[in-house]
C-alpha cells in the first residue's frame, strides 16, 4: 500500500510538472475562454454603440406602396435599423452609400409593367448574404397584408380573427419520458469519450517511455508490477480527472460570466445538471478510464520502441471507437433495445449510461447491472494486464504479437 501511494504520488508529480501537459492544458483553457467570448469580441470589433450588431438597411419605396408603415420594422427588434426613402434612388447611389459604410444593405421596391411588385435586395457581397433574410420577407409581407386589411373597415374582433394564435404542443404514446437537450447530450458524450480515451492513452505512453528509457529493470526490482500498473493508472487518472474538472469548470464559469444568459439557457439547460448526474458521470468516467487504461497498460508493455506504440494501441483504439459510436448513434433513439444494450455492454457503457441517466430513462436496476458488468470486466482486464505486463516489460526484442501475448499469459511459470 505504501509503495502504491509512492507510485501514485510520483506519477501525479511527474505528469503535472511536464511542460507539454501544462502548455496543452493552458492552450485548451485559453481556447475555451476565447471561444466563449467570440460574440463579445465581435461586438468590440464592430463598435460598442447602441446599434452595434444591427443591420442598417435602406428601403427605397418610391411609389409609397407601404404608405409610411415601413419605419415600424424598427420597433420589432429584428436586428434591422430601417431607413426609408420615398424618392428614386439609383443602384449607383446605393453602391456608393454601402461602400461609404453609410448603410449595410438596401431594398428597392419596384412596380413591374404587369402591376405586380419586385423587391430588389442589394448587398455588398453575396457570399455573406446569399438570400433575402426570411424574417425580413415575412415582416414585409405581413406589413403589406395588415395595411390592406385595415382598409377593409373591419372591426378589431374581425381583424383579430384573421390572425390565428394556435398553440402547438407535442406528446408521446410511449410511457417512458425522455428529457434533455440532445445537442448537449451529444456534446458531453464526445467530451467524455475523449477524456477517457486520452487519459487512458497516457498510461500506454508512460509505460513505453519507461521501457525505452530502460528504467524498467530498476523499477521492477524496487516494487511489484501490480503496484506499478495500478499506481500509474490511478496517478494518471487523478491528473486526468482534475484536468477535466478544471476545463469543464472554466468553461461553465466563462459561459456564465461572458455569455448572454438567454443564449446560454437555450444551449445548456443547467436544470439537467443534478448532483446525482455529476456523481454518476464521474463514476462512469473512473470506471471507463480504468477499463481502457488497463488495456493500454497491456499494449504499452508489449512494445520496446516509441514508433511501435501506435500500431500496438490500434486494437484498443478500435474497441473504444466502436464503443463510442454504438453509444452515440443509439442515442438518437434512446428508448431502443440497442441503446439499452449499449448502456450495459462494458466497452460502450461509460459513454452511454450517463446520458440515459441525464435523459431520465435509466432504471436503478439497469444502472446497477451496468456498473457490476463494468467492474467485473475491469477486474478481468486488470488480472490479464498485470500478468502480461509483469513478463512483457523485460522483453526488449521486437513488438510482441497477439500469439506471443497469449503464450506469455498461458505460461504458468511466469
Amino acid at each position: 500500500m505504501r509503495d502504491l501511494k509512492t507510485v501514485i504520488a510520483f506519477t501525479i508529480k511527474d505528469m503535472a510538472k511536464r511542460k507539454s501537459f501544462i502548455i496543452s492544458t493552458l492552450i485548451i483553457l485559453a481556447l475555451i475562454v476565447i471561444g466563449i467570448n467570440i460574440p463579445n469580441i465581435m461586438k468590440a470589433i464592430t463598435g460598442d454603440n447602441e446599434n452595434a450588431g444591427e443591420t442598417n438597411i435602406l428601403i427605397v419605396d418610391s411609389t409609397n406602396l407601404f404608405e409610411g408603415t415601413l419605419p415600424s420594422i424598427n420597433q420589432m427588434n429584428l436586428g434591422y435599423n430601417v431607413q426609408v426613402a420615398n424618392n428614386e434612388v439609383s443602384f449607383e447611389d446605393i453602391k456608393g452609400r454601402i461602400e461609404n459604410k453609410d448603410i449595410d444593405q438596401a431594398m428597392i421596391i419596384e412596380q413591374k409593367e404587369d402591376g405586380t411588385y419586385k423587391l430588389r435586395y442589394i448587398v455588398e457581397n453575396m457570399t455573406q448574404v446569399a438570400m433575402v433574410p426570411e424574417d425580413l420577407m415575412n415582416t414585409i409581407n405581413t406589413l403589406y397584408t395588415n395595411l390592406q386589411i385595415s382598409k377593409l373597415g373591419l372591426t378589431p374582433e374581425q381583424i383579430a380573427s384573421l390572425s390565428p394564435n394556435f398553440e402547438f404542443t407535442i406528446e408521446q404514446t410511449e410511457e417512458q419520458e425522455v428529457s434533455g437537450n440532445l445537442f448537449v447530450i451529444m456534446m458531453l458524450s464526445i467530451v467524455l469519450f475523449y477524456a477517457i480515451y486520452f487519459c487512458a492513452y497516457q498510461v500506454s505512453s508512460s509505460i513505453t517511455t519507461e521501457k525505452t528509457s530502460k528504467i524498467m529493470e530498476t523499477l521492477v526490482t524496487s516494487t511489484s508490477p501490480r503496484t506499478i500498473v495500478l499506481g500509474k493508472t490511478i496517478g494518471i487518472g487523478i491528473v486526468g480527472l482534475i484536468q477535466i474538472c478544471v476545463i469543464v469548470g472554466v468553461a461553465l464559469i466563462s459561459a456564465k460570466a461572458f455569455l448572454d444568459p438567454e443564449l446560454l439557457n437555450s444551449v445548456l439547460d443547467m436544470s439537467m445538471m443534478t448532483p446525482y448526474l455529476a456523481i454518476m458521470t464521474i463514476v462512469y468516467f473512473i470506471l471507463g478510464y480504468f477499463a481502457y487504461a488497463l488495456l493500454y497498460a497491456l499494449t504499452g508493455s508489449t512494445v520496446s520502441k516509441p514508433e511501435d506504440i501506435q500500431s500496438a494501441n490500434t486494437p484498443v483504439a478500435i474497441l473504444a471507437v466502436v464503443g463510442f459510436y454504438l453509444s452515440y448513434f443509439t442515442m438518437m433513439n434512446p428508448t431502443s433495445e440497442l441503446n439499452q444494450f449499449a448502456a450495459i455492454f462494458p466497452i460502450s457503457s461509460p459513454f452511454c449510461m450517463p446520458f440515459r441517466i441525464m435523459m431520465g430513462i435509466a432504471s436503478t436496476s439497469e444502472i446497477i447491472l451496468s456498473i457490476v458488468v463494468l467492474v467485473i470486466t475491469i477486474l478481468i482486464i486488470a488480472q490479464v494486464a498485470i500478468k502480461i505486463y509483469s513478463n512483457a516489460i523485460l522483453n526488449y526484442g521486437t513488438k510482441m504479437t497477439f500469439k506471443d501475448i497469449v503464450k506469455v499469459y498461458r505460461d504458468k511459470n511466469n
Binding site: F10, D14, E210, K214, E217, T218, T221, S222, S224
Partner: protein
C-alpha cells in the same frame, strides 16, 4: 548464510536459458558471474532478484527463499535507464521510498552518495542534461541508496572514463569493507580479477567453471613468458620451438609449454651475453581461462 542457488533452471520458449546451476556466496566480498553474451547471466540475475520465476531449483538468502516481495537487494542493470525529464533528486527519492526508506533518511543518503560519487551539482537537474557516465553513477546510487546487504552489479564499469571508473572502484572496495555481498557480472576480465574472490563461468546456460579464483589459477600451469632484451631474439625463440604471441621493440610475450624450457632460454641468452631486462613466467590470466572455457 548468504546467497545460495541450488540446481536452478529456467527455460524460455524453445531455449534453455539456465541449466541446473548452483553456487553460493557465503561471505562478504565480490563474486564474479561471467559468460559470453546470451550465456544466461542476466536470466540468473533476474531469478535471484525475484524478477522472473525459476522453473526448478531453490534460491535462498540467509536461509530464506528469495521472492520478489521479501528481497530488497540493490541492482545496477546492464540496461542503464533514468527518467529523462525528471530531476535526479526526485527520481532518487522515488526509488529510495520504494525501497522502504523514509524521506529524511533518503535525503541524507542522496546527499552522502552524491558527494562520494562527485555528482552533487547534478542533483537538481533533469537526467537528460547529464552525460552517460554521470547517468550511470546516478543509477549506481539508485542501486545502493537503501544500504542493501546484497548488490548485483551488471557491467558496472562499461562506458565510464578512467577517472569515474576509479571513483566507482573505490566505492565497491568500501562496500566490501562494510560487509556487503556483491555479485558482479562483467566482460572486463581485469576488473573481475581485481575484485572477485570467487567466480562462476556460464556457457549456454551451463556452469563450465566455478570456484575460488586464486585456486582456479593455481590449478593451471604457467603458459606465458614475458621477456624484454636489448636486441632481437627471434632466432633464439625459434630454436627453442616457442611461439611468439606478441612482440614490439624487443619486448616479447611468448607461449610456453613448461617453466623449465623458459629457464633454458634464459640461460642461453645470458651465455650469449644478451642483456635481459625482464623475465617473467606467468600463469594464464582470467581472460585466457575464459576463452579456453567458452571459446568455440
Amino acid at each position: 548464510m548468504g546467497l545460495k542457488l541450488e540446481n536452478v533452471s529456467k527455460k524460455f520458449v524453445g531455449k534453455q536459458a539456465v541449466d541446473n546451476i548452483s553456487f553460493e556466496v557465503d561471505k562478504p566480498g565480490v563474486f564474479g558471474l561471467l559468460g559470453t553474451n546470451g550465456a544466461g547471466k542476466t536470466t540468473t540475475i533476474r531469478m535471484l532478484l525475484g524478477i522472473i520465476k525459476k522453473d526448478t531449483g531453490e534460491i535462498t538468502w540467509n536461509g530464506k527463499k528469495v521472492e520478489r516481495k521479501s528481497v530488497n537487494f540493490g541492482y545496477l542493470p546492464e540496461e542503464r535507464g533514468v527518467y529523462p525529464k525528471t530531476k535526479i533528486y526526485d527520481q532518487l527519492m522515488y526509488f529510495a521510498k520504494l525501497k522502504g526508506m523514509n524521506p529524511k533518511d533518503a535525503d541524507a543518503a542522496i546527499k552522502k552518495w552524491a558527494k562520494v560519487l562527485k555528482v552533487e551539482e547534478y542533483i537538481p537537474m533533469p537526467a537528460e542534461k547529464l552525460s552517460k557516465g554521470n547517468q550511470q553513477k546516478i543509477q549506481f546510487m539508485t542501486a545502493i541508496i537503501h544500504d542493501p546487504e546484497l548488490v548485483v552489479l551488471d557491467e558496472p564499469f562499461s562506458g565510464l572514463d578512467p577517472v569515474n571508473t576509479e571513483i566507482l572502484k573505490n566505492v565497491i572496495i568500501d562496500l566490501v569493507k562494510m560487509g556487503k555481498y556483491i555479485i558482479m557480472s562483467s566482460h572486463q576480465m581485469a576488473s573481475i580479477e581485481e575484485f572477485c574472490t570467487d567466480i562462476l563461468i556460464l556457457n549456454k546456460g551451463k556452469t563450465v567453471l566455478k570456484g575460488n579464483l586464486k585456486e582456479i589459477k593455481e590449478g593451471y600451469r604457467a603458459n606465458r613468458l614475458e621477456l624484454s632484451t636489448d636486441k632481437n631474439i627471434d632466432e633464439y625463440i625459434k630454436e627453442f620451438n616457442m611461439e611468439i604471441e606478441f612482440s614490439k621493440n624487443n619486448e616479447y610475450s611468448i607461449k610456453i609449454d613448461s617453466e623449465e624450457k623458459a629457464h633454458q632460454l634464459l640461460e642461453k641468452l645470458v651465455t650469449d651475453h644478451i642483456e635481459v631486462d625482464k623475465f617473467e613466467i606467468e600463469k594464464p590470466t582470467l581472460n585466457d581461462i575464459f576463452i579456453e572455457k567458452v571459446g568455440e
